[in-house]
Symmetry: D2
Subunit: 330 residues, 4 copies
């Protein structure tokens, strides 16, 4: 099924294809009375925007967002906030309908599911959709003004030393290849008590929100896979008077509920699937053909992934603030 | 908020505390006409049951499941299937109300959220709840008879060589300590086309379902974090005529939709938080006290986690089968 | 599809067949810290219980409810509340598998949907399920302590004069026939501001909740169909200083949101479909047969419907209280 | 809370205010491969459009719909379909911010809920939102090609004789007053088996969908309130070989599931709340003021309500077709 909505009380629904006339979203359930204008959203969109450097796609999109509803005289009304960005620099000729299934992309899976698809620029599966996640996250942040959310790339191509990233990226780009990345996001200021105990656990919702970002293949909370290698006595976060903790192996979540410590989420982005190097593939008719990408793409999607991770974390946290207030009243 | 239901069309709702009179679940949306009896479910419960060896909790629970509704003359009717297991060997005296918050457990977070909690045996946060996940998964499997789902522990205490696990566990247990584990689950027989493109992606739903299991701190699909260290040319799963693939770095999912390859999920379990070694903590009144666990616990929860991971994967896959059939009709 | 859950934040899931071992429900999302014991729920169940008079089914069911989870030391914990009632006086011999489809019942529709069904006592479609609605409503009331909800029968067999009902019922019963009824429910104490503007309007949710009660065929809010016969100037509820109203044609809801006036809901129950008078029908094999009911039934289901309407109204109002608090914080 | 989405698998989300830059919707979950163009949707929108006669609002809106996503080369892709209509003839000066709360409108309730609101043309509560319901319904119809849905006004101002409506409307309009109406919608071609047995019953979903239309105060299925005045023997729909019925008191639904007979829904629209006749009211500051409407309005909103009822019925039926297929596979 097609499910293009995320969230329980604060819900983001996105729409739009990479090369359609526009992309957009509807943010429903936002608290009323919050100051909001397009410039606030634009600030976050600009962090994700393509065309801004040699390590991100050269596609030129101003990505100017318009607020179409839900804001009156500069404040949210509590009714749905519709946002839209027109697509301007789409070059559909880069994507002929009889092109090979691009390995690592959703092409084959979409055709298997729906029988056909919009092939232009990846259609609905394009990372362009994440612009609307970023826009939604920009609104969500305003509902949790005491929470600070910051994501950064901590690893590119397996290398944690940022001083070496430039050279790695140059090399990969010139080889027509691409690199993966790891992004870490830390949210501070989340009070103890947000979350749910069993199936919409705060960590489960964060995992879903982040795993659903294009190119993400893994999510961990706190020490994550590292915790599986610790002993219980090493992994224990001792508590002290005043509900402080000696450590944060748990990443700020216990039993699906926030503990008041920083929320720590780490996300693995695979290397960009669109590469100039040819890979064996098939076309929709089943013929064996080579696939190589001539369109405009990021050599490392993880770089532009950081603001998207921030946005998803913001959406989940704001949603859980409202959920908590709904049930528990504070 | 309290959210104790998982799934879109096939939905599992669980209830019950570790030391209450019983635990149970309701499985709603199951297709009609499927042969089902308690013995089928019991077989999976027995794999997860405590009291079966020195490396799992010695709590003696027969865990005899009863089917209370939704089955008539041995077949599912399409109406809700209610299951119940009575709790028998609960020793609530092990859990005084003024006990310290146990580090790594949900004790403090629950109190922060709800103001108070049922402290007996972890109450609602007990891993005992996972019995009902296993029961739900046993039913879900029947809705996807062509899919085979198998999970196994692939790492204990950071050690991948299974021949060394026994010694590691003996040592941890005798030290009053515990170990983490990694579980890998592989589902074969999933056709291409299950999943959803944006927010209930098959991998996002698997991440949510698995991250929500007690003690899980990380989830990866396919190469997961390893993919972040590959080049695009290495990570590409080349395709051949007949829609076969040369490799499965993607773990069977592209763009949130299954590709027909085996679905590969890896899950990190932290070491059991209940350990005999004392850890500084506080009690509900804020006093600094030491916490050490004298109750009955698994030295490595990950061992009993494998059947739970299988169950969650089964629930997600069966749900997506129905979702796909609903929208696309095949 | 089988959907056995109602509510957004406060959710009731019911399970069980008329002649299965038990019926039950799970109430999820209830605020924590509310005093609750089985006696409170029992008080409402006793108002709906069969076997209490000549105008209701003579089936003898003590309907003793047990609380299986979600309550600790007399207070709700915020985790799911599971309730169960064992079935004791089921007489399945009254319902042979080759019985005719009973006109007005769900028999034929269930078979058309699911391929087969549990025929004993109406199976899942039995009005016995409404016991769990009443139980859920009893809990929901506690979440809205300032709201008073009272339903009463205002019409039986088209007769509004209650003094004539006894004779009408005696006559219908002796003729092996049955009568319809209209129930009116008034909720006072609902503050202005609960509800939602477009699709989960307070009136839309009340309509759904009440139309879903067995045997209900119509729902109206305020003047309902009567409003369609008024002029705009007659239907207008003039307002005065202090936000008081001169009238309540609107039934306490405008634009899907409560106005602070009493919420007025009216519900039409069709006459009991189970009658002794023979009606032409068919059996599952398609043979023409006569259907007449020899089991135990109410001559007017609407009489026992009043507490069920109250329960559904309580569930909807409590849910919207939480929803409002979630988004708007007060 | 703000809930602007309706549907389980086929979901309509609407956005937009009467005097904002545009209104729009997102239709998610539509089956792929269905032929769809803007002209098809426009045909239904034109039936609801204002400015087309003396008995509907003279507001001049071309209501030209644009398809922004989800359709490729004339066919639905299975991804979200975004539609948008620009607002052109908004006259916001008709709605000063310090205007009285208009009795019968959502003005006061919105302020009570959200603290403030967009007052221009009713803002989000404007019946203009129903254009998007009609657009959504136009798409939904295509998913149920064998179902025919037709609604018509059967009563205006309490008068069932259509020959007298013109005179009644002329008189009400010249008096600055308005009239209510009853709309009946009949859906034929629905097979037996769509629906759900307990909480998302087909009739409950229809009740919710129709009660949520602006100005609707009552919904009935089949004989509705009339059924409450029949005897069981009169209300019984006898069955004959071939699963035919002698009558359709049930309105095509039994136990929440379709029976294969025509689905019959009747809906009561209150008289237009916007009238020229002055009604006592208050303003946002609490001052007593008279309210009378000088903007452009329909003397009988029910007339334009018929296509909206059709649309809501189409959305519910298409959704239940997919739900049924999901669980039962046919």
């Amino acid at each position: 099924m097609s499910i293009n909505t995320i969230g329980h009380l604060l819900r983001l629904t996105t729409w739009g294809e990479s090369h359609g006339p526009a992309i957009g979203c509807v943010i429903d359930g936002c608290p009323p009375g919050i100051e909001l204008d397009a410039a606030h959203i634009q600030r976050f969109l600009d962090l994700r925007r393509p065309g801004t450097g040699k390590n991100v796609s050269p596609r030129q999109e101003a990505d100017q967002v318009r607020i179409l509803s839900g804001v009156y005289e500069g404040r949210t009304t509590g009714t749905p906030i519709a946002l839209m960005i027109e697509n301007r620099d789409a070059r559909s000729a880069d994507y002929p309908a009889d092109a090979p299934y691009r390995p690592g992309h959703a092409d084959y899976a979409y055709d298997a599911k729906y029988g056909f698809r919009d092939p232009r620029g990846g259609g609905r599966a394009s990372a362009r959709e994440t612009a609307m996640r970023v826009a939604g996250g920009a609104v969500a942040r305003l509902a949790i003004p005491n929470v600070d959310i910051a994501a950064r790339v901590i690893e590119i191509g397996g290398e944690a030393d940022a001083g070496r990233w430039e050279a790695l990226l140059d090399q990969a780009r010139s080889a027509g290849d691409s690199l993966g990345a790891v992004v870490e996001c830390i949210a501070t200021g989340v009070p103890a008590g947000w979350g749910a105990p069993i199936y919409a656990k705060l960590d489960a919702d964060l995992a879903s929100a982040c795993m659903g970002i294009n190119a993400v293949k893994a999510v961990e909370i706190g020490d994550g896979f590292g915790a599986a290698r610790l002993r219980g006595s090493e992994n224990a976060d001792a508590m002290r008077a005043g509900a402080t903790f000696d450590s944060n192996h748990a990443g700020g979540i216990a039993g699906g509920i926030s503990t008041g410590q920083p929320i720590v989420v780490r996300v693995a982005f695979k290397p960009t699937s669109s590469i100039r190097i040819a890979v064996p593939s098939i076309d929709a008719a089943g013929n064996e053909v080579e696939s190589s990408t001539t369109g405009r793409h990021d050599p490392c999607v993880g770089i532009r992934g950081a603001p998207v991770v921030e946005a998803m974390v913001a959406l989940v946290l704001a949603d859980h603030k409202l959920l908590h207030r709904g049930q528990c009243g504070h």
